[in-house]
């Protein structure tokens, strides 16, 4: 269940990596955590056993660009894969917005894949969610091992709904970000579809049943390497409102109850006339493994494309969205905290109050007319990385009551006015927690911003579908390529160094 906060301008989505045990779900998150720039992530939390098996979940919050000035905060979760952890697996699925199923490509693991997929569908159904209507992508992991199914065989056996599927070698970083971009795009497209229709229905203008026209200027980007799409089950026109503009995958159209409209394939596929009729009902699970592969019409026997380091897709930066007119404080918070899509702004006034989470303690300072006085509620990892913020050039003014020893956590002192109180809170907090390290300005952020000179003035921008502009398209750190041998060696040696809560218990998984 996505959460939209208009005040802090954030949209939160929950992505769950699902799959059988040892298929690489946690490795996916570890690679993402390793490669994503600091300003886009927070610490990864892993509830694992002493043997590094996920016990409850792994959790990684991630910022993936913005939609119309709203930061998209993705919360990535994994589930424990072992069969007997179903109770906790079900808990993690609550409120899920998108699912990545990490399948093990080895031939002898296919029964586990099918069992886990069936379990996923059952667990979702307990929350009243149908897998076929949920944003969902597949990842075929461990493509580097011997004795694996081909992609066509994998598609035929577990890709019932014709969703995008990606090859991966997660421990080498291959396919991880492709999958992440894919699920992010699908989730945002679903969000887009849901709310575009609501907006359309509320407008007084004659509402058209057709989706809004796509942006005509940006051509679809090239297909990512390693993408294997099952052919469409029926010749369905590509949904216009979901043109792939932001750079990674074929769009996921809204999936109605009828035949699942397959995404527009990026590879040349056989003409749809030869395809069988669409598979409308959900597969009968006991016979799932026995479904003839022909009914899924696997792609033509294209030779499995070798996974190679993929040249980075040039960033498809859309027209920068002008920030809404706001106060300088709000503007600086947006640029610093969410500003992947905003041009660099002038530094905030030296005397501006930093972003505070304690505004409720005191009446806010008198706002100017039409100005939001509260810069925004910020998580600690989401501090606006303003270069001037940690600069000592803007010291907190001398506290009017420097020797106020009684004012500590939770104590209110009624003799202070609002500004003094805020400053005192900030000062005390720094002292209490050993002067938090200064927030470094983002190093990569300017590189992903479009040159301001090249940006035409968006004077009359028509109403358009939401643009999903994740920095993963532009930042080399998000590129989906092989890790260098040195990186692989470091990752394999130091993977146990991730911030993991080692629980002193043995879940009885047979490993001593």
């Amino acid at each position: 269940m996505a959460s939209i906060n208009y005040h802090t301008r954030e949209i939160s989505c929950k992505i769950v990596y699902y799959g059988p045990g040892l298929s690489g779900k946690t490795t996916n998150l570890q690679i993402i955590h390793r490669k994503v720039p600091k300003e886009n992530k927070s610490e990864m939390v892993s509830l694992a056993t002493e043997t590094d098996r996920t016990l409850f979940f792994d959790f990684l919050p991630l910022d993936l660009g913005s939609i119309k000035g709203f930061a998209t905060k993705f919360q990535l979760y994994t589930v424990p894969g072992q069969v007997y952890y179903n109770a906790t697996r079900k808990l993690v699925l609550r409120g899920v917005d998108g699912v990545v199923f990490v399948a093990d490509s080895q031939r002898d693991k296919m029964p586990e894949n099918l069992e886990s997929l069936k379990n996923l569908e059952e667990n979702l159904r307990e929350y009243g969610i149908e897998l076929r209507t949920t944003p969902f992508v597949l990842q075929y992991n461990k493509r580097d091992l011997p004795g694996i199914f081909t992609v066509e065989e994998m598609n035929a056996q577990i890709n019932f709904y014709g969703v995008p599927a990606y090859e991966a070698q997660a421990h080498q970083g291959v396919g991880v970000f492709t999958t992440l971009k894919a699920i992010g795009k699908v989730v945002i497209d679903t969000f887009n579809t849901k709310y575009s229709s609501r907006q359309t229905s509320r407008r007084p203008e004659p509402a058209s049943s057709t989706p809004p026209a796509p942006m005509p200027t940006i051509p679809p980007p090239p297909a990512p390497v390693g993408l294997h799409m099952p052919p469409p089950p029926a010749p369905i026109a590509a949904p216009e409102s979901h043109g792939s503009r932001s750079g990674f995958i074929p769009p996921m159209p809204p999936r109605p109850v009828g035949p699942p409209p397959a995404p527009q394939p990026l590879r040349p596929t056989p003409p749809p006339a030869v395809l069988p009729p669409p598979v409308a009902p959900a597969p009968a699970w006991p016979a799932a493994a026995a479904i003839p592969s022909g009914s899924f019409a696997p792609p033509p026997p294209a030779a499995p494309q070798p996974i190679q380091p993929r040249p980075m897709t040039p960033p498809q930066m859309p027209t920068p969205i002008p920030p809404p007119p706001q106060s300088a404080g709000v503007q600086s918070a947006l640029v610093g905290g969410y500003g992947m899509d905003l041009p660099p702004a002038a530094p905030p006034p030296a005397q501006s109050i930093p972003t505070l989470s304690t505004t409720g303690f005191a009446p806010p300072p008198p706002p100017a007319a039409g100005v939001n006085p509260i810069p925004g509620l910020q998580s600690s990892y989401f501090q606006p990385p303003q270069p001037q913020q940690q600069a000592p050039a803007a010291p907190i003014p001398a506290a009017p009551r420097p020797n106020a020893p009684t004012f500590r956590k939770g104590r209110l002192d009624g003799t202070m006015d609002a500004k003094e109180l805020e400053e005192e809170i900030a000062r005390m907090e720094r002292e209490l927690h050993n002067a938090l390290p200064p927030v470094n300005p983002p190093a990569a952020a300017p590189s992903v911003m479009p040159p301001p000179a090249a940006a035409p003035a968006p004077a009359a921008r028509p109403s358009e579908p939401f643009q999903f502009n994740p920095p993963v398209n532009a930042d080399p750190a998000f590129s989906d390529a092989f890790l260098s041998p040195e990186e692989i060696r470091q990752f394999q040696q130091n993977s146990h160094d991730y911030p993991t809560q080692r629980l002193p218990m043995n879940p009885g998984n047979g490993q001593a």
Binding site: H7, L47, S463, F466
Partner: protein, 150 residues
């Protein structure tokens, strides 16, 4: 499945109640967390804490405890309490979708926390009932405040 849509007015109302709770209960900070793990808002001294992870873990802890409750025939436990050496955590159910996480230290006591959090929960419940009636507005034109259209 409906999304949770919060406007500035909602956040301000929630923050006001939570700030009052902090002052009356002498707690350190308070988080309002959706059961999915999403942090809705927070008040208090949270700057040095990873509130996002804290919210996710608290929601996970609550969910696990709820599963335990169902194993023994209860629907769910309405209060969780984790006591530490100096700092403790009090997790309470606000409504069917939301939990409140109160962190406090040894300058207050659990009884005070329970009484005050229950009192605040009633106010928060009222606000959240209003929040569920919120409608989506265009992100492009959104100012953060609740639209005033009819």
């Amino acid at each position: 499945m409906s999304n949770f849509i919060l406007y500035k007015e909602d956040i301000d109302r929630l923050n006001k109640v939570m700030a009052k709770l902090l002052a009356s209960a002498s707690a350190t900070f308070v988080l309002l967390v959706h059961k999915d793990g999403n942090l809705l808002t927070h008040q208090g001294f949270t700057r040095s804490f990873d509130t996002t992870a804290l919210a996710a873990l608290a929601a996970g802890s609550y969910a696990a405890t709820r599963a335990i409750a169902q194993l023994i025939g209860e629907n769910e436990f309405t209060v969780l309490f984790h006591k530490g050496k100096t700092d403790s955590i009090h997790i309470s159910l606000v409504d069917e979708d939301t939990i409140m996480v109160l962190v406090f230290d040894d300058r207050t006591n659990q009884g005070m926390i329970r009484v005050e959090s229950e009192r605040a929960s009633q106010d928060i419940r009222t606000i959240l009932d209003d929040v569920r009636k919120n409608e989506f507005t265009d992100l492009e034109t959104a100012t953060g405040s609740k639209p005033t259209h009819a």
